[in-house]
């Protein structure tokens, strides 16, 4: 393992320069160059044909829906859409790539020169976009028989070509200097923003856990006033949290090397989800010459200006605008809204409010109890097994006085355990505030007789002492009493 510097110390000495390459699988019905289905999770090699298996003689035909989706992404990222663009072949041998070349774009990408603005700690960062281009995904290789699941030591390699040929959009930023200590947060915020933009366009489900959004993180360090350093490219950083961790790790690792006077090698590195570390991949000696050349099997594309403007006019409200609108509607302060964004809860809260709850109630659950549960599980908030509609239902029961907060948390346990909706869980588990005053009065009487000294104090005017009796009653009713009501009864009896 590499020696690591303390992060805060590292960013006192060095300035990071970020670069991000993001691959997004489009959710077109069919693949990029053939009519095969793109549905996720089918039996291996059932969604293939002569074209995506690269049988002799088969030819590609470009998917118009994928081109349209890419232009929309380019427009949403403020890019120029090329008047003349074409595909290119990227030649390299790998068994999960049927043709042993990837049909991609090289010198003539579909979209160029855009930008995205992201806010971190109230400061806006403008991330310049170099290019957005369209290509095809590869298949998946499974190496069997080795200890590591990697090719070395494997006895067999199995390939699933279902993914081969799924349209993939690559979005490449220009180098991003000037983020300082916030580089990890800026990187994460950029990927999150990109994901939200793409999701708002409805062109991909952008699910990092399913690999439909994948990220490569470039990072270099330099001392203030000096030239940019040599960068490393960390591949397959596949969650927002990992983006942040990968940047942080590379800052710590590279700064330690630079402190020791060691030169950074330009290399590809792998990110390890389990440890948060990166390790070297392909070295420079093995660097591939991709021998790019224009794809002669596909016609040149010339997106007409009318069509581009039509698509621009049809763009939906983009996330930044939407957040501003929702913040105003919900009446949240900047800091609170930032927390909502950081927790990735904008959509969840919007849906919860839409299901009939007040913004305050929705924010309370998602940023409070549910964020805590997500952190415990190491999962994204949206991956929790509770829907916005269920959260709205839960808050509705609290508003009606049928649940108190403590009971509500137990109901959440049940919902997350898959026991049903909040109403169903409450019924099954018998979780409901006791509103039968007869039963409560009996419990209060019992508490008074069990605690005569406390009762005496209350009679003497020390109302604060009522807490002890309330606690006893709550215990006796297993928390199902409403504390306010109990207090009222006690004071009536002893007042």
């Amino acid at each position: 393992m590499s020696r690591l510097n303390d992060y805060d110390k590292a960013v006192e000495t060095y300035e990071p320069v970020l670069g991000l390459e993001t691959h997004i699988e489009l959710d077109t019905n069919t693949k990029m160059f053939c009519g095969c289905s793109t549905a996720f999770g089918a039996e291996p090699n059932t969604q293939t044909c002569p074209v995506c298996l690269a049988l002799p003689g088969a030819l590609p035909v470009a998917n118009k829906a994928a081109i349209e989706a890419t232009v929309k992404i380019g427009l949403a990222l403020n890019c120029h859409i090329a008047e003349w663009t074409r595909f290119a072949r990227k030649n390299y041998f790998y068994p999960d790539m049927p043709k042993n070349f990837q049909t991609s774009q090289y010198e003539e990408p579909l979209c160029e020169n855009g930008y995205v603005e992201v806010a971190v700690d109230g400061v806006d960062y403008r991330i310049e976009i170099e290019r957005v281009h369209l290509e095809e995904d590869t298949g998946k290789t499974l190496h069997v028989g080795g200890a590591t699941g990697r090719i070395h030591g494997a006895t067999e390699s199995l390939v699933d070509y279902n993914r081969a040929g799924i349209p993939l959009v690559e979005i490449v930023t220009k180098p991003v200097p000037g983020t300082g200590a916030l580089a990890p947060e800026v990187a994460k915020a950029y990927v999150a923003e990109l994901r939200d933009i793409v999701r708002s366009l409805g062109v991909s489900d952008v699910r990092m856990e399913q690999g439909s959004l994948r990220c490569d993180v470039n990072l270099s360090l330099n001392k203030p006033g000096e030239e940019w350093g040599t960068r490393t490219e960390t591949k397959n950083v596949n969650s927002l949290r990992s983006v942040e961790r990968a940047v942080r790790y590379e800052v710590r690792r590279q700064s330690a090397l630079l402190d020791d006077g060691v030169k950074i090698i330009q290399e590809t590195r792998h990110f390890h989800e389990s440890t948060g570390e990166t390790s070297p991949g392909r070295s420079k000696e093995e660097a591939t010459d991709y021998r790019y050349f224009p794809e002669p099997d596909l016609a040149v594309m010339e997106p007409s200006r009318e069509w581009v403007e039509e698509l621009r006019a049809g763009l939906p409200e983009l996330p930044r605008k939407r957040r501003e609108r929702l913040q105003a509607t919900w009446g949240l302060g900047d800091k609170e809204m930032q927390s909502v964004v950081n927790a990735d809860a904008v959509g969840l809260i919007e849906a919860t409010v839409a299901a009939g709850t007040t913004p305050t109630g929705a924010v309370k659950w998602w940023l409070g109890e549910l964020s805590r549960r997500a952190n415990e599980a190491g999962a994204e908030l949206g991956a929790l097994a509770i829907t916005p509609e269920q959260v709205a239902e839960l808050q509705g029961m609290v508003d009606d006085g049928r649940l108190n907060d403590k009971l509500a948390r137990q109901v959440i346990d049940g919902v997350l355990a898959g026991e049903g909706s909040p109403v169903e869980v409450a019924a099954k588990r018998g979780l409901e505030v006791v509103s039968d005053t007869g039963a409560l009065e009996a419990a209060v009487d019992e508490a008074i007789s069990a605690n005569p000294a406390v009762a005496e104090k209350i009679r003497g005017g020390t109302h604060a002492a009522a807490g002890v009796l309330i606690g006893a009653v709550m215990k006796a009713t297993k928390g199902q009493a409403d504390a306010g009501t109990v207090r009222k009864i006690i004071l009536e009896k002893l007042g």
Binding site: P56, G57, Y292, D297
Partner: protein
């Protein structure tokens, strides 16, 4: 002699079948029997599908008995170059790397042949992956020239040309990347047409050079070629480079040409080609010059045109075609189909891929993969591939300028008659010269045909007619006019091959 079924042209056979004088089964059987009798000598076929061909023939006879209307070539058998994919029939591209591969799908032109109810006799030999001018680079068989069995049948489509020349098939499919239909046609005394690029679908044609490959007809005369051309031609949405436009009226043009009147037609002779005639065989040049005189007698106006960039066509081709081929042939890696070598548990994945390619590809294919890989390499791509693309543009402009002045260009098809086996395999450049006159058309994308015009040293010589993009009809008209001057079709004067 002309009573034999196999001596008839495709047009005659089609009429005989349609009008009930012959059954499709009788016709197909005659050609299958001819294959059985002479292909032991000629070795034009890599695979013969007797059962399949007869099944189609029976369908035709049954349909005709029911009074159904069928296409113009229904029941006329055909041979298909083994680089065109045929569902259920072995397709090898004459390469060991595809030995035993049975395609699960049909090429578009195969579908069209089947839809036209033409019995497919079998698959014909070629230079491996269509790379060569003599069919000597086939991994499987040495096809001979029916005019002289010590000589090559041309290439890469030597199998299709020899099958038609030896009357084992009235029609065949060829593919032309740099002359692979026209040059074999010229040296075997048959007719061959490279249609306009994009007018005939490449879907299911095993790729050699994507921007140049064009499938087309091989036949004994222009009319037969035109009939087949119209069966296989036309827009195909599965080929992105296909031209979405009506098929030029080549059958009508061939019929019009047969009346031998070319008055009002301007034919260009290319000055830069004339300058190479010193290096061409005198007999070939002589036959060509006589053909030019004949064309003038038929009323054509002969005009000299200059196409300066044609001088660079050969090197341009040998950068572009191998570059594309190096990428197109990358898929043959032993992972999904075809040969797999070295998979013995001791070799890793990359080694198996490498051993497969080492064992599966022959010398010419390897030479071109290496050439193309080099031409596309970082640091060289601009000087080689990039520059070749620029010259290609200049060649196109030369053609366009020429067609401002003339209706078609004419030239010898190839600088020399069929050479003897082994004569040029030792020096690739000498082999590449065979395509000196055919390559410019491929770089341009227009149509070109080769029609027999005479003999040199007893071997056939071809005339090439080149037309503008989507002007295939003029090439057929001129070719048919040339044929009209011959008392007997040259293709019918080939020496008899002894039947076995």
């Amino acid at each position: 002699m002309s009573d034999r079924i196999v001596d008839k042209t495709a047009a005659e056979l089609a009429a005989d079948i349609r009008e009930g004088r012959l059954t499709a089964v009788a016709v197909t059987t005659a050609f299958l029997d001819r294959i059985a009798a002479v292909d032991g000598t000629v070795k034009a076929f890599l695979h013969v599908d007797r059962e399949g061909a007869l099944a189609t023939a029976r369908e035709v006879d049954e349909a005709l008995a029911r009074g159904e209307e069928l296409g113009p070539l229904a029941g006329v058998p055909i041979a298909v170059k083994d680089v065109v994919v045929t569902k259920g029939l072995p397709t090898t591209a004459a390469s060991k790397i595809l030995e035993g591969w049975i395609p699960p799908y049909d090429a578009t032109i195969t579908e069209r042949i089947k839809a036209a109810k033409m019995p497919i006799l079998g698959k014909t030999n070629l230079d491996e992956f269509a790379m060569g001018s003599s069919t000597e680079y086939s991994a499987y068989a040495q096809t001979v020239n029916p005019w002289d069995t010590a000589r090559i049948p041309g290439g890469s489509g030597g199998g299709s040309a020899a099958a038609v020349a030896a009357k084992m098939a009235p029609l065949a499919i060829g593919t032309d990347t740099g002359g692979s239909i026209r040059q074999p046609g010229a040296v075997t005394g048959t007719f061959g047409a490279k249609p306009t690029y994009g007018s005939n679908s490449r879907y299911g044609l095993i790729a050699f050079s994507s921007s140049l490959d064009t499938p087309g007809p091989v036949s004994r005369n222009a009319l037969d070629g035109a009939l087949l051309h119209e069966v296989i031609s036309g827009y195909d949405p599965r080929d992105s480079t296909a031209i979405d436009a009506p098929v030029p009226p080549v059958v009508a043009a061939a019929k019009a040409g047969a009346d031998g009147d070319l008055s009002g037609v301007k034919l260009g002779v290319v000055k830069e080609f004339d300058q190479t005639f010193d290096a061409a065989e005198p007999g070939v040049v002589e036959a060509y010059r006589q053909a030019v005189e004949q064309l003038a007698k038929l009323g054509a106006e002969i005009v000299e045109v200059s196409c300066p960039s044609f001088s660079y066509a050969l090197p341009t081709y040998y950068l572009i075609a191998p570059s594309e081929a190096s990428s197109n042939l990358a898929r043959y890696d032993g992972v999904r189909y075809g040969l797999r070598a070295g998979d013995d548990g001791r070799h890793g994945l990359e080694e198996v891929m490498s051993l497969t390619r080492e064992a599966g590809f022959g010398p010419e294919v390897k030479r071109r993969i290496i050439l193309g890989t080099y031409a596309l390499s970082a640091g060289y791509v601009d000087a080689f591939y990039g520059k070749a693309q620029k010259v290609r543009t200049l060649i196109k402009r030369d053609f366009e300028a020429a067609f401002e002045r003339v209706d078609a260009l004419i030239s010898p098809t190839t600088p020399f008659i069929a050479f003897k086996f082994g004569e040029r395999t030792g020096d690739p450049y000498q082999m590449y010269l065979a395509d000196l006159y055919t390559i410019p058309t491929n770089l341009y994308g227009g149509p070109g045909v080769s029609v027999p015009v005479g003999l040199s040293e007893g071997m056939p010589v071809g005339l090439q007619v080149m037309g503008p993009v989507m002007g295939d009809d003029i090439t057929y008209r001129v070719a048919a006019a040339v044929e009209s001057t011959q008392d007997t079709l040259l293709a019918d004067t080939a020496p008899e091959i002894e039947e076995q």
